[in-house]
Subunit: 234 residues, 2 copies
């Protein structure tokens, strides 16, 4: 497009996203799941890869992540954060720097997600062989999530606006892979003052459970150094 060669480069910038949601397995337990795209072109044709695409010259990094996320799943994320920039020389036949994001989508959104050719949701700890270095990327995204759930409210990104403490605890348990004491969990979350109780209850089984919603309009977690556009609550 431009005549000057000084603004051209043999290095291309891609943006990919590790999209996570909660899904119920056969036993009814919630488990982490993520969508992958079957590659129809070389390199790595026939292998599964993270959703993503080339960074357009006119869009920001997080915009590109949200765009490719919508293109592959039809969803808007409830949480989106940059994960890491991968740029080893040998990670692809051509020179590609991938800026990878990770996103959370609500469970009920994910079940309503558009079913698309070449896109499938996999259990996060039962993945097929992945293209490029994507296996390592997913592993790191899961590490980040498990870490961040310990000091932030990110887990609420999996839940609808109103939820019970058992819902929230189930999300934590699925992320951390271990059971949490209901009594202590309750005390810990209301010590953070991040939930406000509603007057509604979820009924249907045993004693009804109170529904809660977010106490504040602030972010679920620190998403890093955001540009002014990214700071706006969309």
């Amino acid at each position: 497009m431009t005549r000057s060669t000084s603004v051209e480069s043999g290095i291309r910038v891609a943006v990919s996203t590790v999209i996570l949601t909660l899904r119920r397995d056969d036993t009814g337990d919630a488990r982490l799941a993520l969508p992958l795209v079957l590659r129809t072109r070389d390199p790595h044709r026939g292998e599964w890869a993270l959703p993503g695409g080339w960074l357009d010259e006119s869009e920001g990094l997080s915009s590109a992540a949200a765009r490719t996320l919508a293109e592959t799943t039809g969803l808007a994320p409830s949480y989106l954060e940059q994960l890491y920039a991968f740029g080893a020389v040998d990670r692809s036949p051509s020179r590609v720097v991938s800026v990878v994001y990770w996103a959370l989508v609500r469970a009920e959104d994910a079940t309503a997600a558009i079913a698309q050719e070449n896109v499938r949701w996999f259990d996060a700890d039962d993945l097929p062989p992945l293209a490029f270095d994507h296996a390592r990327i997913v592993e790191y995204a899961l590490w980040r999530l498990r870490n961040k759930v310990g000091y932030s409210r990110v887990a609420q990104g999996f839940l609808p606006p109103e939820f019970t403490l058992a819902d929230l605890r189930e999300a934590y348990e699925a992320i951390l892979g271990r059971r949490l004491d209901p009594a202590n969990f309750r005390r810990q979350v209301d010590a953070t003052r991040s939930l406000i109780p509603t007057n509604a209850f979820r009924t249907g089984s045993h004693r009804p459970a109170r529904l809660y919603r977010d106490a504040t309009d602030v972010e679920l977690a620190d998403r890093g150094p955001l540009s002014p556009e990214e700071t706006r609550t969309s």
Copy 2:
């Protein structure tokens, strides 16, 4: 270089690094300091900017960070970690994605650093106006350091192989900007079992202080998802 236009892009990839060290101020206290480069070309000619350069097609991201770090300071970092990828459309007149690293260098190395035209070391909380979005980047790097010092051994990246507990505490105090109780600090660090005492003492003033060195060969902190080359201890 290549004839195919499909591997060309109007987006260029730059790598910059926030290089941090400890320096003594007039009162003898240790303070965080970092080198900046005076821009001699537009855009932002005459303003100070982070050391960095264009990513070469044949080098990895962290290699580029180490290379530009050596070019501007003549130093090798004792710690190097990716900070964030900045890619807002309007952060530069041309489209640039900057992958930013942060690095620690040892104090005595920094004082021996090559004095270079257009490069100056500034006190971290008394910086001149910076080019591009570099002020925000430095701020985030300092936040990351202050955060990471709480749950890792990164602070040792400022110190020589052998040091006293007072040296280490002084580094913590400079990073965190507050005093720490010597008694509690001692207990906390030896609870981590990350230091082993030597039989040497530092003398010269008052009661001699025992010298310690790193207990392990492992990294000072989790540097993120590293490629195989980056994992090698160089």
